[in-house]
Symmetry: C2
């Protein structure tokens, strides 16, 4: 049975979404929780898992940096699918809790609820842990005066009370997940429509990023997203994550364009062609 | 006496840098600590402080998101100066501590030391607090089995032992700070060389970002950095932070270019012209 790695423990938003994609693809993957996103991705790289399913962007908080920074590493994986997943955050308490002096969750969930926390619990201590489910578990285990921000599923698993539901700052709280594997595969009949490229451009040359973007524009390839991360080789050096629409682009046209783009980059990595599931 | 707001409490990297800029500008500002970056910026907006001094980017971890997200708000402040500041992170303990089961710090400092933590304390619980100095204070106050990641100055203030020095993942760990005020001012004889623009581009139009970047390129204006943040109006809508070099650009040329660019944007905010202090 193939193994699908996700950000554990049981009860995370990632597990909810991973279970959905397992059903959706009519697969029978064994869902395996990992301690962190970095660990889940490396499990595939090292051959301990066949696939991993990790968040890459949230509509409120933006990119999941640890995912981008890990994809920048010298690992050769392909994206086989993207899932757009609606996130619901709950404020969860152990029965009998009367005061909330600590709020505990994953940093991404804390950020999604920043305004809610500022408004209602501005004096609370914020405690960051590795997952929303881990936060729920800590509250269930008896951390005093604490509330967890986590999924409804976590509340059920750890027998917690819902103090407040749907506490994310904006109701349209959506997370994009990607399914990574060792090779490009078709796991579902949906057509690939998108490509993610990761590249480092020589920032010391004026207009070099602009040159790359023009190459896509000249080939009628629409860019849907660009994000930069520090290249970690000094201030002012960036790695770019460029998402392009490839549904209506021929393989030949894309190959030619990427060849032109590659010449302007210090390095370029094609993360693959994949469908988007909503 | 004018008030300069910074991310408190006493002993933060921000205070170290704020004290430096106070001397550098030969000012006699009263340095006032604030609980968060958001609060420090709003103190100037609300008239409680004259200036604030906040981090905007780190060479390892990237943008300081809370700073960018607050600048996106409907507040009208100007950047009067940028400081490039070398950051040194220490692992600090209370005397007599024998086991490190918790590592506590500001999320940015934790991220800067991610590989160090993974290598040396992979099982430790990570606790996120509002500042590095706050972390040092909590360890000094007796949080058991805990180590703080904070500045040398924090260690001195809170009488902590240095278990390990210079623990950031890359020795070239630099943070860019900006000095914000109500209006554009010359606080030092250094010449303004840079401009920060914040704008939202209609992402549904293909090549619209590319169009904006071309406008700068056509006017021989070099872009040194582009960063995107979710516009919080739904997945796929972004606000761009564009830094351009304006040392060799005439006021007239810049005004004309910004006029052309503005027409392609849903909105555009010019954060001002400022010198860079190293």
């Amino acid at each position: 049975m193939a193994i699908l790695a996700f950000l554990g423990p049981h009860g995370t938003h990632s597990e909810e979404a991973a279970a959905y994609i397992n059903d959706f693809c009519k697969q029978d993957w064994s869902l395996q929780p990992y301690r962190g996103i970095h660990e889940a991705i490396y499990a595939v790289h090292n051959g301990d898992a066949d696939y991993c399913f990790v968040p890459i962007e949230n509509s409120i908080e933006g990119s999941v940096r640890i995912t981008l920074d890990t994809l920048m590493d010298d690992i050769d994986l392909k994206i086989n699918m993207e899932l757009i997943w609606q996130v619901h955050n709950q404020l969860l308490l152990k029965k009998g809790t009367t005061a909330i002096k600590k709020i505990i969750s994953h940093p991404q969930a804390l950020a999604q609820c920043r305004k809610y926390i500022q408004k209602n619990y501005s004096q609370a201590e914020i405690i960051e842990v590795v997952s929303t489910a881990h936060a729920a578990k800590m509250v269930a285990d008896g951390l005093p005066d604490a509330a967890a921000i986590a999924s409804k599923r976590s509340g059920q698993i750890y027998n917690l009370q819902t103090a407040d539901a749907e506490i994310q700052d904006i109701s349209d709280n959506v997370t994009r997940f990607i399914l990574l594997g060792k090779k490009q595969e078709i796991l579902h009949k949906e057509k690939p429509v998108k490509t993610l490229l990761i590249c480092q451009i020589d920032g010391s040359k004026a207009g070099s990023l602009c040159g790359v973007l023009n190459d896509f524009a000249n080939s009628d390839i629409n860019m849907t997203r660009i994000e930069s991360r520090p290249a970690r080789t000094g201030l002012g050096n960036y790695v770019f994550f460029i998402e392009i629409e490839t549904a209506n682009v021929s393989e030949e046209q894309l190959r030619k364009t990427l060849q032109i783009v590659q010449e302007k980059c210090l390095w370029l990595k094609n993360m693959g062609y994949f469908p988007i599931i909503k």
